[in-house]
């Protein structure tokens, strides 16, 4: 049986302006054979809408502006409201460790802080589906 090709939505959260990390991760996921939709900057409702339309396996959020505690849980809530609570949400960026705990408590599956090796992200995404 052919392995299913994973489909991931990558979005910059809110008004955060740093694209470097999101681009590098997008490329790594593609190089690993996954299909990645890069959405650019979006707000939680639009991220969830696109994720459902595109029927992705994982939502990957990127934030370095410090908006993660407000906006990332909002994505999880929007998913729940849309009846898609099982779609995993992961987040990467400048997130201090103390915030990671709050985020996972709010339903974010995994948080990748600064300096995470790409390999860790790729194998984690694989393990999700």
């Amino acid at each position: 049986m052919a392995e299913k090709r994973l489909k991931i939505l990558v979005a910059k959260l809110g008004l955060d302006s740093h694209w470097r990390g999101a681009m590098v991760v997008t490329r790594a996921l593609r190089d690993a054979g996954m299909e990645v939709i890069y959405l650019g900057n979006q707000f939680p409702d639009a991220i969830v809408r696109t994720a459902l339309q595109e029927d992705v396996d994982v939502i990957g959020l990127s934030s370095l502006s410090g908006n993660h505690l407000v906006l990332a849980p909002r994505v999880v809530q929007e998913l729940e409201r849309s009846g898609a609570r099982r779609m995993p949400v992961i987040l990467g960026g400048a997130v201090p460790k103390r915030d990671s705990k709050a985020l996972t408590k709010a339903g974010v599956k995994a948080v990748f802080g600064p300096g995470t090796p790409l390999e860790d992200i790729v194998s984690y995404v694989r393990s999700l589906v």
Binding site: S17, R20, Q42
Partner: protein, 560 residues
């Protein structure tokens, strides 16, 4: 033309060096397969006079304040005046940032450097739904001229130079207008104001992302409007600072950083000349903003090469007759991207070396990063240590006592030549894309930077490039040991002010002002006077930004 060394002597030295390399130097004992700079330039085991045998002193180095400016843009450099200590500050509502600014001045800062929050830079008000989560982050929240007034309250802006990190032309026009309106209210003549607006279209369209960005062409137009306005009204202001620093942060190499800033400055200059201004009416006021990354000598060579290239471009391509036009004046920030969240105190050492490179490279002003900047906005403690780092370089190291102390180093001169040549080649590549504006429209700039970012990440992942505390020398169970900055409450504070402003202002006057801005956008005239009038009529930042978005259109950033 005369070379620095006697021809026969340097030939003899060259042979001796080759002999040494063959007979004494043990290639098989080298620690690694290749030695390269951070930007991938090969580095030899040893440099001797033979490496710069062809160098003509007057042609290649000259004297400080004289062409080709390799050794510095001013005759006296740091013996006359030390660089401006310009530490970034900006967070929360303007009341809070004002306190930090006054703290920095009290501690010896000699210039101001203000960052604006994400919503402010992108043309949203703090109480907009889009701003939720980002209001007051990354910089100070400014929603109207009244906030700008609070930001500079009790600060003598007629006596110190103020850098406004207004990255995007689409909001630089509004934020600078607010600044001018504050000066006007305080009865300061615009001709007296000194400082810098960032105002770089690549910042808006290529190296940062946002929802609803403006297109390169429109953003470029607005940035030139601001340049043109300053020629007429604010002659001592630097209307633009080409943000090589941010290109580098996004992934560019040292060569790309300089190639892009110079290509960008050429485009801005040519457009301003097309509008009828002679080169020497504005070139002396163009300024640059560069990074100080980890590779110590490469960075020093980069600054020296940049001065040489710009000087020649100004004279040969832009037709300048005034030497002041040819001065590549630049601010430096130590590389944020080089900081690690792991073992954050290591960043104190990194930033100090980087700051030293900027100084040995002849910077006009400097920001040294706080050790906590990979995690958050700097705390007061981190900001103060960064300021003190600069003061230690200024008053303790002695490197300021003579000009361009590394001039004549066989290695530094060779590397300067190499970087210069690579920058000229890269400028040709950009030219082949149709110039910098077309290159950004096509997404070429984005692809170039993203490719470099990818290569650098691969070098770190493979361990080829070592980052202390990250891919080597890490503690297994290390915890963050630094106190983190808390952004002060912003939305509530700003919303209360906005509610009051919306109630108090004259709707009629506001509508008239916004309508004439709309008309300027359509007829292609300079928008600055109309924006200034909107700001005086108490338009909010978003109201002006919405007119610009509606009239000039939005764009999709061609990333991936």
């Amino acid at each position: 033309m005369s070379s620095l060394f006697n021809k026969n002597e340097s030939r003899r030295l060259g042979l001796a060096a080759e002999h040494w390399l063959k007979e004494c130097y043990r290639k098989d004992e080298e620690r690694r397969d290749s030695f390269i700079t951070l930007s991938g330039i090969p580095v030899a085991p040893l440099y001797t006079p033979a490496d710069i045998a062809e160098m003509d002193y007057a042609d290649a180095l000259g004297f400080p304040g004289k062409e080709p400016f390799t050794r510095g843009v001013y005759p006296t450099m740091y013996r006359g005046r030390l660089w401006t200590v310009r530490q970034l500050a900006g967070f929360g509502p303007p009341e809070e940032t004002n306190k930090r600014l006054r703290f920095l001045i009290k501690q010896g800062a000699t210039g101001l450097n203000i960052t604006f929050s994400y919503p402010t830079l992108r043309g949203y008000n703090s109480d907009d739904p889009e701003s939720e989560g980002d209001a007051g982050r990354g910089g100070v929240a400014i929603d109207s001229v009244q906030d700008m007034q609070v930001l500079f309250s009790r600060i003598p802006i007629d006596q110190m130079s103020v850098s406004l990190v207004t990255c995007n032309p689409s909001t630089a026009v509004s934020l600078f207008s607010m600044y001018l309106a504050v000066a006007e209210k305080r009865r300061m003549a615009p001709g007296k104001l000194t400082g810098t607006t960032q105002n770089d279209f690549l910042m808006e369209t290529a190296v940062t992302v946002a929802p609803e960005p403006m297109s390169p062409r429109q953003s470029f137009r607005l940035s030139c409007d601001l340049i043109e306005y300053c020629i007429r009204q604010v002659p001592r202001w630097n209307p633009i600072s080409y943000t090589g620093y941010n290109y580098r942060e996004a992934g560019a190499t040292a060569v790309q950083e300089i190639g892009f800033v110079i290509a960008n400055a050429i485009a801005g200059a040519e457009e301003t000349m097309r509008r009828g201004w002679g080169p020497d009416t504005f070139l002396p006021r163009l300024s640059f903003f560069l990074s100080a990354h980890n590779d110590f000598f490469e960075e020093i060579a980069k600054y020296r090469a940049a001065r040489r290239v710009w000087g020649r471009v100004v004279r040969e391509r832009l037709g300048s007759k005034d030497q002041r036009s040819a001065l590549f004046r630049f601010h430096v920030q130590t590389a944020g991207v080089a900081l690690t969240a792991q073992q954050p105190l290591n960043n104190v050492a990194r930033a100090a070396f980087q700051g030293l490179a900027a100084v040995l490279g002849g910077a006009q002003s400097l920001h040294v990063d706080g050790y906590d900047e990979a995690l958050c906005t700097p705390t007061e403690k981190a900001a103060l240590l960064a300021l003190r780092t600069q003061q230690i370089i200024q008053y303790e190291t002695g490197v300021v006592n003579t000009i361009d102390p590394l001039g004549g180093s066989y290695f530094v001169e060779s590397l300067t030549d190499e970087l210069e040549q690579r920058v000229w080649d890269y400028l040709e590549e950009i030219e082949a894309q149709g110039g910098i504006v077309a290159a950004a429209e096509k997404g070429w700039v984005h692809r170039e930077i993203a490719m470099s970012a990818h290569q650098q990440q691969c070098a770190i992942e493979s361990g080829e490039r070592k980052v202390v505390g990250l891919n080597c020398f890490h503690d297994e169970c290390e915890e963050e040991e630094v106190e983190l900055f808390e952004t002060p409450e912003t939305v509530k504070v700003q919303k209360a002010k906005l509610d009051r402003l919306r109630k108090e202002r004259s709707q009629k006057r506001l509508r008239t002002a916004l309508d004439s801005l709309r008309a300027r956008c359509a007829d292609g005239g300079n928008v600055m006077p109309a924006v200034l009038d909107c700001v005086r009529s108490l338009a909010t930042l978003r109201e002006v930004a919405d007119v610009l978005r509606q009239e000039l259109g939005v764009w999709r950033i061609p990333l991936v």
